[in-house]
């Protein structure tokens, strides 16, 4: 089976930046994810939102990559949130306690509302 491509694009929105993630978040995603996160940090003092609506697979290495982004956000005292996770990955964010340290929202509207409210 071919390893699916991973893509990440940055969008500027009121309250912060959105990373639109697509494909599989595994070890192959690291370079692209880190570069997109660095782009989202530029000229942005607000929140960073991870959009998982088009992510269909996250493995344990992918969880580690998200932990790394969360550590960067915390070091910079920046809010990092997630939205668009499937029910299964919401459960994984709960049992790993990622959801204790980052907002997990059902959709972009609710995530952006929280980011704008600060």
């Amino acid at each position: 089976m071919a390893v699916k491509h991973f893509e990440a694009e940055v969008r500027r929105e009121p309250g912060g930046a959105v990373l639109d993630l697509r494909g599989e978040i595994n070890g192959f995603a690291q370079e692209t994810l880190d570069a997109a996160y660095a782009e989202a940090e530029k000229e942005n003092s607000g929140a960073i939102l991870l959009n998982f609506e088009e992510v269909d697979y996250i493995n344990s290495t992918g969880i580690a990559l998200i932990v790394g982004l969360l550590a960067r956000a915390r070091a910079a005292k920046r809010d990092l949130s997630a939205y668009g996770l499937s029910e299964h990955y919401v459960e994984i964010f709960n049992i790993t306690r990622l959801s204790d340290f980052m907002g997990v929202f059902p959709d972009e509207e609710s995530a952006l509302d929280r980011a704008v409210a600060g």
Partner: protein, 159 residues
Amino acid sequence: MSVSRNESHRMLAELSVPSAPGNERRAMEEVAGTVESLGLPDRTLERLKTAVAEATMNAMEHGNRYREEAPVFIEVSATDAELSVKITDEGTGPAAFDPQTPDLEAKLDGAQTPRGWGLFLIKSMVDEMNVTGDERHHTVELILHLNGRKEASDGRKAL
């Protein structure tokens, strides 16, 4: 719930995947297809898929060191009471899992590596996990108790 392990298992599938990065998804999808007839609830199936993927990835990476000529073997079998998925690699000695329980706060503070979630995810996703090994193989067995799942899917008992 106590489940008798004496009942003989009926084999549902014997699969193998080459040890190459990304092939854990192939294993996951093939096992999901194999157990389709059992009618597992969606949530249970997703949990099984994650456990199979993580155990297969561990077998490919640590057991077979991503040597494509060393396949990971997967046996799927069931009784009326339980579903068993055995994942076997060609590693020697104890199966290599990070023994440290992941602590997210420690990881965020840099006191633990960000990695090391595989075993934790597997244990969280299935009812039982057994690890066995000898001089030539490691086997990780994942077990789901089926009776409780049927009750849950009928809405009579929440697990």
